[in-house]
């Protein structure tokens, strides 16, 4: 009930505010290359978190293994570009496609499972993918990793040359664009009839079936879209850091941190996970690291506990809402 007294903004407004902040951030950081690169990572994480939250927050299916789709996307693009000479831009697309296909391989059997078993099945899938990346040496170079991955080629717009090799800022704006694209996909998906089905499945999947929702198909679409977006971000990551090993591409970080960011920012707001990613990165960089150089990661756990206990709906939880239909009647 206290919610009524709080500022309540629409999803759209919150999305605009966060996007505006993202666009302004490099200026606020005076284009410091170190901080810019920190926030490139934050945006990659934010985009993956938005995608993760489509599955978990909208459709109610928690995944513990989004690293699987991130890694598949990263390796797909890296292999296509380094071994077969594809354009990295095509690599981003292929990374998404393969991330999505990979999710179907695990999703079809895993959707028979419920709750934690589904989440763990995906975690297991991520481990299997990591092992494949380690052992298919002819394709992935195994534990040596793939080195010297081409950066995104410069874009030439008229006389303007946008270079991704040297400039962190251009990378920052590309990842901001990708993040925004992922957000829009999720935003419009939730507003569609499919989004209605996902919310219904989230609410009660048996009842949803009772009113004619194809539950399996709905979950599969949520997972595939989520994994596709995650795969694209993985592919971008490959061309940004320019080196991949099974340990970095399938790092548990990409499974855990999207959850942390989502819980932090609030799962009921679509932009919440992005806000969460920015806040935890900011806190880590400007607060924890300053004071506790070695143990700063510990604070995530502590902070998460605090959030779960005191604000279970996250930072933006009850303050941001989708405009519910029927509200003004």
């Amino acid at each position: 009930m206290g919610n009524l007294t709080r500022a309540f903004v629409s999803e759209r407004t919150a999305g605009c505010i966060v996007t505006g902040f993202v666009l302004a951030l490099p200026f606020l950081l005076s284009f410091n290359p170190y901080y810019t690169s920190v926030f490139v990572s934050a945006l990659i994480l934010g985009a993956v978190a938005i995608a993760w939250n489509l599955l978990a927050g909208v459709c109610g299916q928690v995944s513990f293994g989004h690293a699987a789709f991130f890694g598949i996307g990263a390796y797909t693009s890296a292999v296509l570009v380094t071994k077969w000479g594809f354009s990295p831009y095509l690599g981003l697309v292929a990374g998404g496609v393969f991330g999505g296909l990979g999710s179907l391989i695990i999703g079809i059997p895993a959707f028979r499972l419920r709750g934690p078993y589904f989440a763990l099945a995906i975690l297991g899938f991520a481990e299997v993918m990591k092992l494949l990346a380690l052992n298919l040496t002819w394709l992935t170079e195994g534990s040596l990793g793939i080195m010297n991955i081409a950066p995104l080629p410069p874009l030439e717009v008229g006389s303007l040359k946008i270079d991704f090799y040297a400039s962190r800022t251009t990378n920052y704006y590309v990842v901001a664009l990708l993040m925004f694209a992922v957000y829009l996909v999720v935003y419009f998906l939730r507003r569609s009839n499919l989004g209605l089905a996902m919310s219904a499945v989230h609410g009660d999947d048996e009842t949803a079936a009772g009113i004619g929702v194809n539950v399996f198909r709905t979950k599969a679409i949520a997972l595939t879209v989520s994994a596709t977006c995650t795969g694209v971000m993985g592919a971008f990551y490959a061309h940004y850091v320019r080196f991949l090993s099974p340990d970095t591409a399938f790092d548990g970080y990409w499974s855990v941190m999207p959850i942390v960011a989502s819980l932090f920012g609030g799962m009921s707001a679509l932009i919440g996970p992005m806000a969460g990613a920015l806040v935890i990165t900011g806190l880590d960089e400007f607060v924890f690291k300053r004071f506790f150089e070695t143990g700063h990661k510990l604070f995530f756990g502590l902070l998460l506990a605090v959030v779960i206990v005191w604000a279970p709906t996250g930072l933006l939880g009850n303050r941001v809402g989708k405009r519910s239909e029927g509200d003004k009647r």
Binding site: G203, E206, T207, G210, I211
Partner: protein
């Protein structure tokens, strides 16, 4: 309209003691339609418990059939079998002459069967409007225009008296309102057969008196065939042309409500049930 309701309510009260006048209701709505639903030797065992034991019955198009029986008789389990929520142990179910056992609930919904849940199960994070809209969108196969869907939703909301609550979330509704939402959602799928599981339970006598004409109107105006589980015998007598009585998973009576109250097995089942309760 109101006075007629009250009149019938009175007649129902009498019907309990003296069954003669209640037969008027079935006469006005002769159920001569084709068979819509047929169960043949339908059984469901939970381990050693025979929750539904070899039940056979038919429901004809346009009928309102009541299902009664003591607690634990297997009524809800029977509904779960019919609507695809539980796999049957054995037997057969035909809907419009086609076998439907093994079909998923969503497929059955598309074929025209909708159910409500005894324990209401709204989608808590969706508004009343969205709850009903989801049913209107997915209840039938094939794309319908947004306009059609919206007008359907509004009609259902108006008919169930939920229109003023359209923007509310289910947790803020009272139990009778949630029961109405349960019915509204089932109705929005445009069913041919509606399975109502104790939608009147928890309502006070006045609310029940208001609900009965609504159930009747669904049947008369919208040609919805209804199978309804109900503990309130007076309500059942007031709307049903025929009742099925279950006891320990078995069908012990199938016939006019007026005859049921005189049936020895039914009386015994109820007296026995009361001793346990």
């Amino acid at each position: 309209m109101k006075s007629r309701t009250n009149g019938e309510g009175l007649r129902d009260k009498v019907a309990g003691a003296n069954p003669a006048p209640v037969t008027i209701a079935p006469m006005t709505q002769p159920a001569t339609g084709a068979t819509l639903l047929e169960a043949r030797d339908l059984s469901k065992h939970f381990g050693g418990l025979r929750a539904v034991a070899s039940i056979s019955f038919r429901v004809r198009q346009g009928e309102i059939v009541g299902v009664i029986g003591p607690n634990g008789a297997g009524k809800t389990t029977l509904f779960a079998l019919l609507s695809g929520f539980l796999p049957a142990t054995s037997g057969e179910v035909l809907f419009e002459d086609a076998p439907i056992l093994g079909l998923r609930p969503d497929t059955l919904c598309h074929l025209g069967m909708a159910r409500t849940f005894q324990v209401v199960r709204p989608f808590p994070e969706m508004t009343v409007f969205e709850n009903v809209k989801a049913a209107a969108v997915f209840g039938k196969q094939g794309r319908r225009s947004n306009q059609e869907i919206l007008s359907d939703v509004e009609e259902v909301l108006r008919a169930t008296g939920l229109a003023p609550l359209a923007g509310q979330h289910p947790p803020s509704l009272s139990l009778p309102q949630r029961k109405r939402l349960e019915v509204a959602r089932a109705l929005a799928t445009r069913p041919k057969l509606l399975l109502l599981d104790e939608v009147l339970a928890g309502l006070n006598p006045k609310e029940i008196q208001e609900a009965l004409p609504f159930i009747r109107s669904l049947n008369e105006k919208h040609r919805v065939t209804i199978l309804m589980i109900e503990h309130n015998l007076r309500a059942i007598m007031g709307v049903c042309q025929r009742i099925l009585v279950l006891n320990f998973g078995q069908l012990i009576f199938d016939g006019a409500p007026s005859d049921a109250v005189e049936d020895a097995r039914v009386i015994e089942a109820y007296l026995g049930g009361q001793q346990h309760a």
